[in-house]
C-alpha cells in the first residue's frame, strides 16, 4: 500500500505492519495494566476503611462495626473498565464521611486512595506498556 502525496510516493507498508504488530501486543498489556490499577486502588480504599484507633478527621476511617467497609463495592463493567463505589443501601452515611458535614471533618477515603495509586500505576504503565512497544521492534 502506498499513498501519493504532492511530493511523490510515500511507502507506508512498514508503518502498517508496525501498527498491526503493536495492536496485537497492546490488548493483553492494557488488560494487565487495568487489572493492576484496579487491585492497587481497591487495596488502598480497603486499607483506608479499616483503621484501628479513633482519629477524627484523619485517615484511615475507624472500623467499628464494619458497615462502611461492607458498603464498598467494585464491579467489572467491561474487561477494561472497573467501577468502585459505596452502596448507599448498606451505609447511607458513606458520603458524609467522605465529604464531611457541619459536625465532622471530611475523611476522603476514595480521593486519598486515588492519589496514592496514581504513582505506582504510572510506573507499572511505564514498565509494561513501553516495554511492549519496544518488544515489537522494527517492522
Amino acid at each position: 500500500m502506498s499513498s501519493t502525496g504532492k511530493g511523490g510516493t510515500v511507502n507506508v507498508l512498514r508503518w502498517n505492519a508496525k501498527v498491526n504488530k503493536l495492536l496485537r501486543e497492546y490488548g493483553p498489556e492494557v488488560k494487565k495494566i487495568v487489572d493492576y490499577g484496579n487491585n492497587k486502588l481497591g487495596g488502598n480504599i480497603a486499607s483506608n476503611l479499616s483503621g484501628g484507633s479513633y482519629m477524627p478527621g484523619r485517615l484511615p476511617v475507624t472500623r467499628v462495626t464494619g458497615t462502611l467497609f461492607r458498603a464498598y463495592q467494585q464491579k467489572m463493567v467491561t474487561p477494561y473498565l472497573y467501577m468502585h463505589g459505596m452502596d448507599s443501601r448498606v451505609s447511607n452515611y458513606a458520603k458524609y464521611v467522605h465529604f464531611g458535614t457541619k459536625h465532622m471533618a471530611p475523611r476522603p477515603y476514595f480521593e486519598n486512595a486515588v492519589q496514592y495509586a496514581k504513582m505506582p500505576i504510572m510506573h507499572f504503565w511505564r514498565a509494561t506498556f513501553l516495554n511492549s512497544v519496544r518488544k515489537t521492534g522494527r517492522a
Binding site: 478527621g57 458520603k95 458524609y96 465529604f99 464531611g100 458535614t101 457541619k102 459536625h103 471533618a105 471530611p106 492519589q115 496514581k118 504513582m119 504510572m122 510506573h123 511505564r126 513501553l130
Partner: protein
C-alpha cells in the same frame, strides 16, 4: 521567597492573606475566610464562610510521551459554605464567581498586595513575589447536593505550580 522552603502552612498563609486583602471592599467584606475545615465551634452560617485547606503535594500527569514522569504539583482545596438565610444560592453564586475571578485573572493577583509573616515578615508582597503561581483552578463542585436544601456548599481545587 516562601515557596522555596516548601513549608505547607506558608503556602496556605499566602493564599488566606491574599483573599483577606481583597476584603477591603464589597462583596468580599461580607464574607469570612478561615484556615482549614470549619469545626463545630467556628461554624457560623450567618454569612458566607470560605475555608482554605492546606495544600498537598501530589504527582501530576505524564506529559510529552512519558518523558516527565512524576511531574509534581500542589493541590489546594477551597470551599464556600452558607445557608438560605445568608443570601442562599445568589450569594454563593457571587462568592464562587469572585473566587474564580481572583484566581484566574493574572492582573488581580499581581496588583493585590498583602502582609504575611513566616520565618521572615513580608510587607506589601504579592503572590507572585512569594513564588506562588496558580496553574489552574477547577470547580465549583457542589458537595452533598440535595442533602439539606437550606445549605449551599461548593468546593474548588486550586493547582499551584510545583
Amino acid at each position: 521567597m516562601i515557596r522555596n522552603t516548601y513549608i505547607v502552612e506558608d503556602i496556605q498563609d499566602c493564599i488566606v492573606e491574599y483573599l483577606q486583602a481583597l476584603q477591603v471592599s464589597a462583596p468580599w467584606n461580607r464574607w469570612t475566610i478561615i484556615y482549614g475545615y470549619p469545626n463545630e465551634e467556628k461554624f457560623n452560617l450567618e454569612e458566607v464562610l470560605i475555608y482554605v485547606q492546606p495544600p498537598k503535594f501530589q504527582s501530576g500527569e505524564i506529559k510529552n510521551q512519558g518523558s516527565q514522569i512524576g511531574l509534581g504539583q500542589w493541590m489546594m482545596r477551597l470551599g464556600v459554605w452558607n445557608d438560605r438565610l445568608a443570601g442562599g444560592a445568589e450569594e454563593i453564586g457571587i462568592a464562587e464567581s469572585q473566587i474564580l475571578y481572583s484566581f484566574r485573572h493574572k492582573g488581580r493577583m499581581a496588583d493585590t498586595t498583602f502582609d504575611v509573616t513566616n520565618s521572615a515578615a513580608y510587607t506589601g508582597t504579592t503572590l507572585l513575589a512569594q513564588g506562588i503561581q496558580i496553574d489552574r483552578i477547577e470547580g465549583p463542585t457542589e458537595v452533598l447536593k440535595n442533602v439539606d436544601t437550606n445549605e449551599f456548599r461548593s468546593e474548588f481545587d486550586i493547582f499551584l505550580k510545583g
